[in-house]
């Protein structure tokens, strides 16, 4: 592609400018993705280099250290204890004792079973006392995977702590050499509300995120490589085990089950993904522009009762969404309030197919989503609109710009710059907007060709509601739900990556402060 300099670009005709921009955007996508992989490769190399440097550092600490240092490689915290840093030493030692105790008592067991997630499933055994066969439960794949992952987390934490312990010895030697005093336990505690205050503040939130977000995500990503489903629940009916990339193969195979009238998973996935993207696009931008319109109307000079108009809209933000969504969903139903009223007045003969016709249903959810979203957008944009410097408009007026030109040349660019990051998060948020879709339509109307073992799929289903339906309905194909979840991640990540490389206002966080 030919690159134009700034001057050359300015001389292009409007149409050529547009084409140029479009082409350079399209080119930037594969470039961005390529760039991403280059970055990952560089990251891996960098990581490798770091690990090598760490190993070298550990080795030199060991070789050059005295017997106290050498012993503390085995007994964590010994160096600290020997030099009177009781608090640090005890913490290290305690961690080591707990770790060894855990690994010996249970951790080793889970780890040893992790290779195929259990060997012995439930079996029927003759029970002499009852004189009948009873089921004996043996291994539990679910627990093996869960505690296996936890144990690996724990091992990583241990390695990290052990490294910190080695570093401590190096530090002690350095400090003693330079003739300074070592920090006492009291100093350590004090620094937790001062220099190290961030550690205190982050401790609790990070533990929560680690246990209730990171660990579950790692677990569920791993499930995508097993055959965990309703008939292999890993405990009471059959164990599940590793299957490699088989599930991704299933998801992306084009073989349809024609005898049952079902289409392939690829086709279903493609359909749902397309609708998800269309939905996210319209849900984001209709709300954004209409919300901005409403805000501008209320903000306009000469409009009275500004506060009242705003309050009316803001009030609807306060009402819990499930009430309004469920109510409106029933209002638009086949025999709901709206259709009944229209029929009573004789305006229509047949009820309008709001939730029964695929196209009607899709348009209706988008329109109702406007109703849900505008008040919130109105609130956000009002504040920003008022922040646009008034003299910009004054000088534009003097130059003879009309209202539309002012909007195009001042308001819109300003808004887009400020709200760029918001638009991105709102787009991805809408892709995963479970509540609106699920409470309004539940995914209806049903798409018979797409429904099957993976639960019933409808025309308004997003990937996220499909994931939910796979989990709770059909044959509970958890492994498939996990694959869908990973795909959602991939799509969101790709979109974010592209937008990050195009939008100026997200890139530099500090610029914004």
């Amino acid at each position: 592609m030919k690159r134009y300099s700034d001057m050359e670009y300015l001389r292009l005709s409007k149409w050529n400018k547009f084409v140029y921009k479009l082409v350079s955007f399209l080119v930037s996508i594969p470039l961005g993705i390529g760039h991403f992989f280059v970055k990952i490769w560089k990251g891996i190399k960098e990581f490798g280099g770091k690990v090598a440097a760490e190993c070298k550092d550990i080795w030199t600490t060991f070789v050059t250290g005295d017997w106290k240092t050498k012993l503390s490689f085995l007994v964590m915290g010994f160096g600290n204890l020997a030099h009177g840093q009781i608090l640090r030493g005890v913490m290290f030692l305690l961690f080591e004792v707990v770790f060894i105790f855990y690994m010996v008592t249970t951790g080793g067991y889970w780890l040893s079973k992790l290779d195929n997630l259990g060997d012995k499933g439930p079996e029927s055994v003759y029970n002499a006392v009852l004189d009948t066969n009873t089921t004996v439960f043996n291994d539990n794949s679910f627990k093996i995977l869960l505690y296996g992952v936890l144990t690996i987390f724990f091992i990583i934490a241990f390695i990290y702590t052990w490294r910190a312990n080695v570093k401590q010895n190096k530090l002690i030697n350095q400090i003693l050499k330079s003739g300074k005093k070592l920090k006492s336990g009291k100093d350590d505690l004090k620094s937790l509300v001062d220099d190290q205050f961030h550690k205190t503040l982050l401790a609790l939130p990070m533990v929560g995120i680690l246990v209730f977000t990171v660990m579950p995500i790692v677990f569920m990503v791993l499930v995508a490589f097993t055959n965990y489903d309703g008939s292999h629940n890993g405990y009471s009916n059959a164990l599940f085990t590793w299957v490699g990339l088989k599930n991704f193969g299933t998801m992306f195979s084009w073989t349809a089950n024609t005898s049952a009238g079902l289409q392939s998973y690829s086709a279903t996935f493609g359909e749902i993904l397309t609708w998800t993207l269309i939905w996210a696009f319209f849900a984001t931008f209709t709300n954004y522009f209409l919300g901005m319109c409403v805000a501008m109307m209320i903000n306009k000079k000469g409009i009275h009762l500004k506060k009242m108009w705003r309050t009316i809209l803001v009030m609807t933000v306060a009402i819990p969404q499930f009430i309004s969504l469920m109510y409106v969903s029933k209002m638009f139903a086949q025999n709901g309030l709206l259709n009944q009223m229209l029929m009573n007045h004789g305006w229509i003969k047949q009820p309008l197919p709001f939730w029964t016709d695929p196209t009607w249903a899709r348009i209706t959810v988008i329109i109702i989503n406007i109703w849900v979203g505008i008040p919130y957008l109105m609130l956000i944009t009002t504040g920003i609109l008022m922040n646009i410097p008034a003299d910009l408009y004054e000088s534009a007026k003097i130059d003879g710009a009309n209202a539309w030109q002012q909007y195009r040349k001042i308001t819109l660019p300003y808004m887009l710059f400020i709200t760029g990051p918001y638009l991105l998060t709102s787009f991805t948020g809408n892709m995963n907007n479970f509540n609106v879709i699920y409470l309004l339509t539940g995914g209806a109307p049903t798409n018979a060709a797409a429904s099957g073992a993976a639960g019933s799929v409808g025309y308004t289903d997003l990937l996220i509601t499909w994931l939910f339906k796979i989990t709770t309905g059909g044959e509970s194909l958890y492994y498939l739900a996990s694959v869908v979840g990973i795909m959602v991640f991939v799509v969101v990540a790709l979109i974010s990556l592209v937008v990050y490389n195009v939008l100026p206002s997200i890139k530099n966080e500090e610029d914004f402060q």
């Binding site: 679910f142 869960l146 509300v193 205050f197 961030h198 503040l201 939130p205 929560g208 209730f212 977000t213 579950p216 995500i217 109307m297 000469g302 409009i303 309050t311 809209l313 009030m315 609807t316 933000v317 306060a318 009402i319 819990p320 499930f322 009430i323 309004s324 469920m326 109510y327 029933k330 309030l337 009944q340 009223m341 109703w371 008040p375 609130l379 956000i380 009002t382 504040g383 400020i418 990051p421 918001y422 998060t425 995963n432 479970f434 509540n435 699920y438 409470l439 990937l463 996220i464 994931l467 939910f468 958890y478 739900a481 979840g485 959602v488 991640f489 969101v492 990540a493 914004f512 402060q513």
Partner: protein
């Protein structure tokens, strides 16, 4: 062209456009309020089947509210209220810790941490529902005991939602901190004595959103309660009233429930509206 005349023309144009705007605003207000007005009317309707083609009840009465009192609704309401109260306190603490730290401190792991959480946030939360359920089940915190389970999961993962308040903290000048640090204040004192008073809007915003969130919490709450009415929150419970086999007898009660749920939340919201607007415009956009 006569300048006077042009001026007059602009004036009438302006007046005309203002009239159009007024008409639009009235239409918008009606569209936005109507469904809620409908709910209120229908909550007083004595005839209880839902398929009627009118809004104003033919027979007015408090029957639906009495039904509500006699149903499990009390329990659901209490459950939700407890969850909302607990998360208002705990979620606020966690989110403020997180956002303040990431806004104010520059430590080695800050960048990687934020990038890591950004990536983490790209995974759909729905994905982890199954395992979280199993973990809660192991702890005995499902079905009738769903309330502490929901609080635990909600609070533990709330650190991820630090963006709005971080955006707000970013707008408080760093020179304030530095001045205090020069005067010998510890980091803790800076937070407690200088930042917190200035951050009142975002604190109230966080409390408000944390309190309002659980009232609409639906999917995970339903999964954790697993059909045990005692563990429902209002959203889950009232959803069960609108299923096809229940709707005819429970529709108007649902409306009454909607009024009872929405009323306190809305009043609270209207009182604290100012802070909400400040939080949203100050923090949400910057992200």
């Amino acid at each position: 062209m006569n300048n006077e005349k042009r001026h007059m023309g602009l004036k009438t144009l302006n007046r005309a456009s203002n009239t159009v705007i007024y008409i639009l605003l009235v239409i918008i207000s009606v569209i936005w309020l109507l469904p809620f007005v409908f709910i209120v009317f229908q909550s007083f309707r004595v005839e209880s089947t839902w398929q009627v083609g009118y809004v104003i009840p033919q027979q007015w009465g408090l029957q639906n509210y009495i039904n509500l009192w006699n149903s499990d609704f009390k329990r659901w309401y209490l459950n939700t209220f407890i969850i909302a109260l607990a998360s208002a306190v705990l979620v606020t603490v966690i989110q403020l810790c997180m956002s303040y730290t990431l806004s104010r401190f520059r430590f080695k792991m800050r960048g990687p941490l934020m990038r890591f959480m950004l990536i983490l946030g790209m995974f759909p939360g729905m994905l982890t529902m199954i395992i979280l359920y199993r973990v809660l089940a192991d702890l005995g915190l499902t079905q009738a005991n769903a309330v502490p389970g929901l609080i635990l999961v909600g609070v533990a993962s709330s650190g991820m939602g630090y963006y709005v308040s971080k955006g707000f903290f970013d707008t408080i000048p760093k020179s304030l901190d530095e001045a205090a640090r020069v005067d010998g204040a510890t980091r803790f004192q800076v937070l407690y004595k200088i930042i917190l008073p200035l951050a009142k809007p975002i604190v109230i915003y966080t409390i408000l959103t944390a309190f309002m969130g659980p009232w609409g919490d639906f999917v995970f709450a339903r999964y954790v309660a697993m059909g045990t009415s005692a563990g429902y929150n209002v959203a889950v419970g009232m959803y069960s009233w609108l299923t096809n086999d229940q709707i005819n007898s429970w529709y108007t009660t649902f409306c009454a429930g909607g009024v009872i749920v929405a009323l306190p939340v809305t009043i609270l919201f209207m009182c604290l509206q100012k802070y909400y607007v400040e939080g949203v415009t100050g923090g949400a956009v910057k992200g």
